[in-house]
């Protein structure tokens, strides 16, 4: 149950209950007052009657009249109002009492003067009516204000719970990678300790995360420098011993492989979703693909391959580092598996709502059984690294797949109709599908 609803229900119930009790008490009090008032009236009526000394006959009054009287002298009825019976309406005893006659309940006052008993009576009903009127006029406005009171209370509760609502909003818009602290200006004494604790936990998490990231980068440095040393010194040895030394060539090939594996593992870590989901933006594929081709061009032209890029100015929602890694792996793969003098065709196109990056080559292509396996980590076409002449570690396509998933895209391998080799089709969802999330993010930033 929400705190708001709970508070509303309790407060409104208590107010209603109190109003009800007050009404009963008020009714009782006004009843007593009314009785006093009427009793004074009744006794002064008796006094008046005595001083009038009514004649000894029946005095006609309307049957609706709320007053009645009887005069008795020596146990004889000497005068009465027409709305009384022939019998005495009360016992001859001084003071107030209540009696029934003529089918109604009366308040009777008895008074003895000389030898005459004066019995005056008044209907009880008007007393109740008066009390009811008084209490109703007192209670009605209170009852009528209960709905208004509810609205005011609801507003006050909402206002009082506002910091909680703000905290809720801040927390909901936080995604899993956002470890920034929560800032609230008017958190209140009760909420502040919670926010402080939360911020402490968040900043600890953030530090741990930073440490982990720095560790990855430090590890990269630690691996990259000795690998550079290995590479350069092997290269120097080759220069001095000539390039036909078999041991040295094996050494250099192994160093290359190691470099490759380390690079791919680092890339796999660098492209993890935790780091990149925050850094997605609208990017144009053209310059990214151009740069990747330019980077790889030395190898491609060394293999006497012809590469072409058919560009259609495609914009996607993504991360440029990831997309560059994806393009690099796919184009490098195409070059590696395509024989000398082969052809590579890179194209971007729009197909309906979707955006496509396509890489085709004139290499041997891929068999049906291999299509499903190539995305597994460390799987290599044609078996272990030693059996094929191509340098690699089988991580490339796993990374590609990983990046595609990160971008909510899909990847398909098939045979290129144009070049008869492998055709890799990477499909990215339309920008429209991201508009919603982007718009939401913008709103959150401004709120």
């Amino acid at each position: 149950m929400s705190i708001r609803r709970y508070l509303m229900l309790i407060i409104i119930s208590i107010i209603t209950l109190i109003v009800f009790i007050a009404a009963i008490q008020g009714y009782k009090a006004s009843m007593l007052q009314a009785a006093d008032l009427f009793d004074v009236q009744l006794s002064s009526f008796a006094d008046t009657l005595i001083s009038l000394e009514p004649q000894k006959n029946n005095i006609k009054v309307s049957s609706n009249d709320t007053l009645a009287f009887q005069l008795w002298s020596n146990n004889r009825l000497i005068s009465k109002s027409s709305n009384t019976p022939q019998q005495a309406i009360s016992s001859f005893k001084h003071g107030f009492s209540e009696h029934n006659f003529m089918g109604k309940r009366w308040r009777v006052f008895s008074l003895k003067k000389h030898n005459t008993w004066i019995l005056v009576a008044q209907l009880l009903k008007p007393r109740f009516e008066l009390a009811e009127k008084v209490i109703l006029s007192a209670v009605t406005p209170i009852i009528l204000t209960i709905p208004l009171l509810s609205i005011i209370i609801s507003l006050i509760i909402s206002y009082g719970l506002k910091p909680l609502q703000q905290l809720k909003e801040q927390l909901t818009k936080k995604n899993i990678n956002d470890l920034s602290t929560i800032n609230m200006e008017h958190a209140g004494k009760e909420l502040q300790p919670i926010i402080d604790t939360l911020n402490r936990v968040l900043s600890q998490l953030d530090k741990a995360y930073e440490r982990e990231k720095r560790f990855a980068s430090d590890a990269a440095h630690e691996l990259r420098t000795p690998l550079s040393v290995l590479k350069i010194n092997a290269h120097n040895l080759q220069y001095e011993l000539g390039s036909d030394n078999e041991s040295l060539n094996n050494l250099m090939a192994s160093v290359e492989r190691m470099v490759h594996v380390v690079e791919q593992i680092l890339k796999l870590n660098q492209t993890n979703p935790e780091q990149f989901s925050q850094q997605m933006k609208k990017i144009v594929l053209t310059p990214i693909v151009q740069q990747v081709i330019a980077q790889l061009y030395t190898d491609i032209s060394a293999r006497k391959q012809i590469i072409e890029f058919v560009d259609n100015n495609i914009e996607i929602y993504g991360n440029d580092f990831c997309i560059a890694t994806l393009a690099q792996n796919l184009i490098a793969n195409a070059s590696k598996y395509t024989p000398l003098g082969g052809q590579i065709l890179v194209s971007t196109l729009q197909h309906g709502e979707n955006f496509i990056l396509q890489i085709e080559d004139s290499g041997p292509g891929i068999t049906e059984e291999e299509i499903n396996k190539v995305f597994d980590r460390f799987y290599r076409i044609g078996g272990d690294c030693n059996n094929s002449k191509v340098i690699g570690c089988g991580l490339g396509l796993a990374i590609v797949k990983h990046i595609v998933v990160l971008h909510q895209g899909s990847i398909k391998l098939s045979i290129s109709p144009q070049l008869q080799g492998l055709m890799v089709t990477v499909t990215f969802p339309s920008l429209l599908e991201h508009h919603h999330t982007v718009a939401k993010k913008t709103v959150e930033v401004h709120s």
């Binding site: 980068s217 990269a220 440095h221 990259r224 420098t225 690998l227 550079s228 040393v229 290995l230 590479k231 350069i232 010194n233 290269h235 120097n236 220069y239 470099v259 680092l266 660098q270 310059p287 151009q290 081709i293 330019a294 061009y297 030395t298 032209s301 590469i307 072409e308 890029f309 058919v310 560009d311 440029d320 580092f321 890179v346």
Partner: protein, 218 residues
């Protein structure tokens, strides 16, 4: 060509020195940022190979310091950091090029050669590729020992391609090299220049990489 190598990893520095000497570069080595700044203050080096992870002063700070003194000496950054931000930051501060470890020695020498050609401080100001010779001092181009006439912009395009032989230059790169900011450029200006140059040069000297740019092969 005298190079100052700033690298704290001794085996790497030694290996690099040997490699570069094989390629006829003269290499001096210092292993921290302070020494690098001191050396650059009075010694006469043509370019710097700078490792970013130095023990005392961070490589980027060394770079900033050098550029603060208005020195335009070409600086190639060597680093194990390869994030896009790191690269952009290095280039923004004023590095001429950026190489991520572990690199191919051939890649490094290729980039050194590009800078060398640009500086014109190689043995001569003459670059020869196949049967095309460009004299960057005399602004002359010879094909099969015959001087050919090139318009100013055509010469600039050819010089850019030859200086960066083996690397692709995109149309945007060529454009930004030819025209000042705000200058009106027709959309096919680069294509027109290339086509004019091609008429005067041997066939297939300038290669088109369709959709990417142009290159002259080494």
């Amino acid at each position: 060509m005298r190079i100052l190598l700033v690298e704290d990893d001794l085996p790497l520095a030694q290996g690099l020195q040997i490699s570069l000497r094989h390629q006829d570069f003269a290499v001096d080595h210092v292993s921290n940022g302070k020494d690098a700044l001191n050396t650059l203050a009075f010694a006469d080096h043509d370019m710097v190979i700078l490792d970013l992870g130095l023990p005392d002063i961070d490589g980027l700070s060394v770079l900033k310091e050098v550029r603060k003194n208005k020195s335009a000496i070409p600086i190639i950054i060597l680093t194990a950091r390869d994030s896009v931000e790191d690269k952009v930051q290095g280039l923004d501060i004023g590095a001429d090029d950026y190489l991520v470890k572990p690199f191919d020695i051939s890649e490094l020498t290729a980039r050194l050669r590009v800078i060398e050609r640009r500086l014109g401080t190689a043995n001569s100001s003459i670059i020869t590729i196949h049967n095309v010779v460009i004299d960057t001092l005399a602004h002359k181009v010879l094909v099969n020992e015959q001087v050919i006439n090139l318009a100013k912009k055509e010469y600039m395009v050819l010089k850019l391609l030859i200086e960066n032989a083996g690397r692709i230059q995109s149309r945007e790169q060529i454009e930004s090299h030819l025209y000042e900011w705000g200058e009106e450029v027709s959309s096919n200006a680069v294509e027109v220049h290339i086509s004019n140059i091609r008429k005067k040069l041997p066939e297939r000297f300038i290669k088109t990489i369709r959709g990417v740019g142009y290159t002259v092969e080494n």
